[in-house]
Amino acid sequence: MIDATITDKKRNLRDAYSSALIALGRRNPDVVVLDADLALSTKTKRFGTVFPDRFFDMGIAEANMMGVAAGLAACGKIVFASTFAVFATGRSYDAIRQSIAYPELNVKIVATHAGISVGGDGASHQMLEDIALMRALPNMVVIAPADATEMEDVVPAIAEHNGPCYVRIGRADAPILFETHGMFEIGKGYVLREGSDITVIATGTMTAEALKAYDLLKKEKIDARIIHMPTIKPLDEKLVRKAAKETGRIITCEEHTVIGGLGDAVAMAIAKKPVPMIRIGVNDVFGESGEAWQLMEKYGLTAENIVKRAKELIKKS
């Protein structure tokens, strides 16, 4: 079991991204960073300030940025390409498919402002299909870290991995869950709380909600196992199957459409020996403007909804 607690301390994952990127840049001269006119928002600009020679703003031309990233990677660079998730994956899908995933080039797409918690910008900017899009691509690793500590571990880990990776993080500050570094490994899921009545598998921003749900369920005498699944592809199927077998019920939680994301990946993993399951996510609709917390509430991306659905599932099965 991994030590994880929800404290009042919050930190933005974008800040963690930029500090980890700078540390990586110091160690490795092959690291090159691209952005598409959002370098102040994604915080890659900080890397550009420290390493101006290895930072290129490609302007508002995301598909081209992905192609340029591929070309740099084909010449031995470890390329980080960042912009908002909606542009990184939606706008650039074919460039990623043709020039990065198919030739299996060493490009790390780190997308910020993923999910509905983008808030006021509304549906046009709330990317809810990126996991589905990236998961469908052969050779692509898909990661959604839960807090800033983990994000700082994700950056060197994906740099170490020779091949394309997609990392999605949100816009908002996130509670710090992990006090110490060194936990993250590509393809591994982590049991944060042991339990035998039901398993809640969460990724990204939803892991904090799952931890809160654990405490709420405990009060109702429901013993939930909480699994944090930072890597959606390749999925830690062994851990999922073990949880299915031992707890008999699964709820998945993601700030993403219920189509094609973590929930579907987990369902696939247990398809041979299925157990009753509920997938929490955005139910095949576009988002809207609002405060981040209001939207998370309205679309059921909260600990309270996890509790409600867990009780339903236990009652039914």
Partner: protein, 280 residues
């Protein structure tokens, strides 16, 4: 002036490329002969004279790179690579066959000498920009060639890449536009106009050179005109789709269709006749 011996040798290579295009597409039963024949002379000039490369070391870091952005001309690229020694020419007979490394469109993971996987139009120039940028970063003197189709530059991403290339002053990047004036649905100017093409590239900050893309001497001479002046260069090569096979020249019908058996025999005998004339 290049010496006659060199020009004759490259003409011979271009004819060999054309013969293999016909042979491999005929045997595959599918493929794109028209746009492969139109770039044959350009590829012959690049692989048999202009480019710095080593078939024994396909990943040589200091090599000149070539991105065939119009990936459907793969049969011509594969023929050039095989004739240069990257793999045995006999392999060309297995183009598009299941389990074989010669994919319908270039795949860098499978084919030695292919610097970038292409096929979906509009992507290659962006990749070439990245390669040229890497060359500048590493202070290497290699050049990056990108071969574009003319219909291909209807893709918006081409212009994103064109803009980035001049912005980052990539004078180590040379695009060659195979201006054969035909795309699948018809003449480019009818389908979606490209002219004034030279002006458009100039407006994006490129040096533009227009040449006859089938005149070996002119193609070779053009590379000497390219200056290291902090500007990328585009060579607009006026070509004929299907060049070298009389009944394929200037027609739409062989964009993506293989020759029939009878057409195959006729095409090969025309190309062999051209070889004999060259040797006389």
């Amino acid at each position: 002036m290049h010496d006659e011996k060199l020009i004759k040798e490259i003409k011979r290579k271009a004819l060999e490329i054309r013969k293999w295009v016909i042979e491999s597409v005929y045997r595959a039963g599918s493929g794109h002969p028209g746009g492969s024949l139109s770039v044959a002379d350009i590829l012959a000039c690049l692989y048999f004279h202009e480019m710095r490369h080593n078939p024994k070391d396909p990943k040589w870091p200091d090599r000149d790179r070539l991105v065939l952005s119009k990936g459907h001309a793969a049969p011509a690229l594969y023929a050039a690579l095989a004739l240069a020694g990257y793999f045995p020419v006999e392999e060309l007979k297995n183009l598009r066959k299941i389990g074989h490394f010669l994919q319908g469109h270039p795949c860098m993971k499978k084919v030695p000498g292919v610097d970038m996987s292409t096929g979906s139009l509009g992507h290659g120039l962006s990749v070439a920009v990245g390669m040229a940028l890497a060359g500048k970063l590493d202070k290497k003197d290699y050049r990056v060639f990108a071969i574009l189709g003319d219909g291909e530059v209807q893709e918006g991403q081409i212009w994103e890449a064109a803009n980035a290339a001049s912005h980052y002053k990539l004078d180590n990047l040379i695009a060659i536009l195979d201006r054969n004036k035909l795309q699948i649905d018809g003449p480019t100017e009818e389908i979606m106009h490209l002219e004034p093409l030279a002006w458009r590239w100039q407006a994006f900050g490129w040096d533009v050179i227009e040449i006859d893309g089938h005149d070996i001497e002119e193609i070779l001479g053009t590379f000497h005109e390219i200056k290291l002046n902090e500007k990328p260069t585009i060579i607009i090569a006026n070509t004929i789709k299907g060049k070298g096979v009389s009944f394929m020249e200037g027609t739409l019908s062989f964009h993506g269709k293989p020759p029939s058996e009878e057409q195959y025999i006729r095409a090969m005998s025309e190309l062999e006749q051209a070889e004999r004339e060259l040797n006389d």
